[in-house]
């Protein structure tokens, strides 16, 4: 990396360098601050969506009808062998 920077033609370390560095740092800082603010908002939206999913799931559980109990095969009545066959 150092070699890469040193290879840059005429990177002057005299008075002009600090102004050029300052201008580019301002640009990068502006972009980074903006992206950081947006990332914070995005996290908030993600939290809202997660909460919404939980609320929807809870509402769905409340609204769903009680499921029929599973028929117990052991309690099934024995077929009446003496009964007349149904035509």
């Amino acid at each position: 990396m150092t070699g890469f920077v040193l290879a840059a033609p005429a990177l002057p370390l005299h008075s002009a360098g600090k102004y050029v560095a300052g201008a580019y740092i301002v640009f990068v800082t502006l972009v980074l601050v903006y992206v950081a603010i947006m990332a914070t908002r995005l996290r908030r939206t993600e939290r809202e969506l997660a909460q919404l999913r939980r609320d929807v799931a809870a509402a769905r559980d409340e609204a769903a009808p009680e499921p029929d109990p599973e028929p117990d095969p052991e309690s099934e009545p024995e077929p009446d062998r003496d009964a007349e066959p149904v035509p």
């Binding site: 290879a7 840059a8 033609p9 005429a10 990177l11 002057p12 008075s15 002009a16 360098g17 102004y19 050029v20 300052g22 201008a23 580019y24 301002v26 640009f27 502006l30 972009v31 903006y34 947006m38 908002r41 995005l42 939206t45 809202e48 969506l49 919404l52 609320d55 929807v56 509402a59």
Partner: protein
């Protein structure tokens, strides 16, 4: 995924590649300016920021016109985000320009230069956009008034630009002209790539913010539809379109 989120990743990658290329060209390819030396490197960030910012203000006006024509809220949102982004880029252009002025002229600001002062006027004009929105509580009226402002102020930008170009007294360098400019080939290429990079950055951040606002709005609408109005916290007074 909303239409604003679609293609955002690809656009972001293209933006990063273009800006990285521009930085390499600025520091490794473009020759040093014979007159200004190294300080001229600020030109590759300052001028694109200012140009894209002014174009963003005009774009905000066009979106505002779209809102007035159709009455659809999405145009108001587009206009709001375009102006918001242009303001950020404008502040960047102003700070980088001042930095260049300090290094080149020896002071941060020159009140006698029409280019600087007119840019400041445009920036201050658009700085009133958000307070204007915030001062109007009713969302319908807020969006309508804001669109009218965006159209009028957006039309002011090119007019202002023409007047400044016609001005004879200036100290600000005039590098870009209708006759092709005074930039030699490598400098022109570097400038064009820098301009493309900043324009792409503007487009990416605009899409990003639109996608974020759209997602938030959809989440609220979904909550209201599924759980009723009571489940949605009322929005406070805001400058942003709801």
């Amino acid at each position: 995924m909303s239409i604003y989120g679609r293609g955002l990743r690809g656009l972001a990658i293209v933006t990063v590649v273009t800006i990285s290329t521009a930085l390499v060209l600025v520091f490794f390819y473009a020759p040093l300016d014979a007159d200004q030396g190294f300080i001229q490197k600020i030109f590759y960030i300052h001028v694109p920021l200012a140009i894209v910012s002014l174009c963003g203000f005009v774009l905000g006006g066009l979106f505002g016109a779209g809102h007035l024509r159709t009455g659809e809220r999405k145009w108001d949102m587009r206009s709001y985000v375009a102006i918001h982004m242009a303001l950020i880029f404008g502040v960047g252009g102003l700070i980088t320009g001042s930095t260049w002025a300090k290094a080149s002229w020896g002071h941060w600001w020159e009140w006698g230069d029409p280019t600087l002062v007119s840019f400041l006027i445009v920036l201050l004009l658009f700085a009133t956009y958000q307070p204007l929105r915030f001062s109007i509580e009713d969302p319908e009226r807020q969006s309508r008034y804001a669109s009218v402002f965006a159209v009028v102020a957006g039309a002011f930008v090119p007019m202002n630009f023409i007047v400044v170009r016609l001005s004879q007294e200036f100290v600000h360098p005039r590098v870009l002209t209708l006759t092709g400019g005074n930039l030699p080939g490598p400098m022109r290429l570097t400038f064009v790539v820098s301009l493309a990079g900043i324009a792409l950055l503007y487009a990416t951040l605009w899409k990003y913010e639109m996608a974020a606002k759209n997602a938030r709005g959809q989440a609220r609408a979904l909550r209201r539809a599924l759980l009723g109005d009571d489940a949605v916290r009322p929005l406070g007074r805001s400058a942003a379109p709801s």
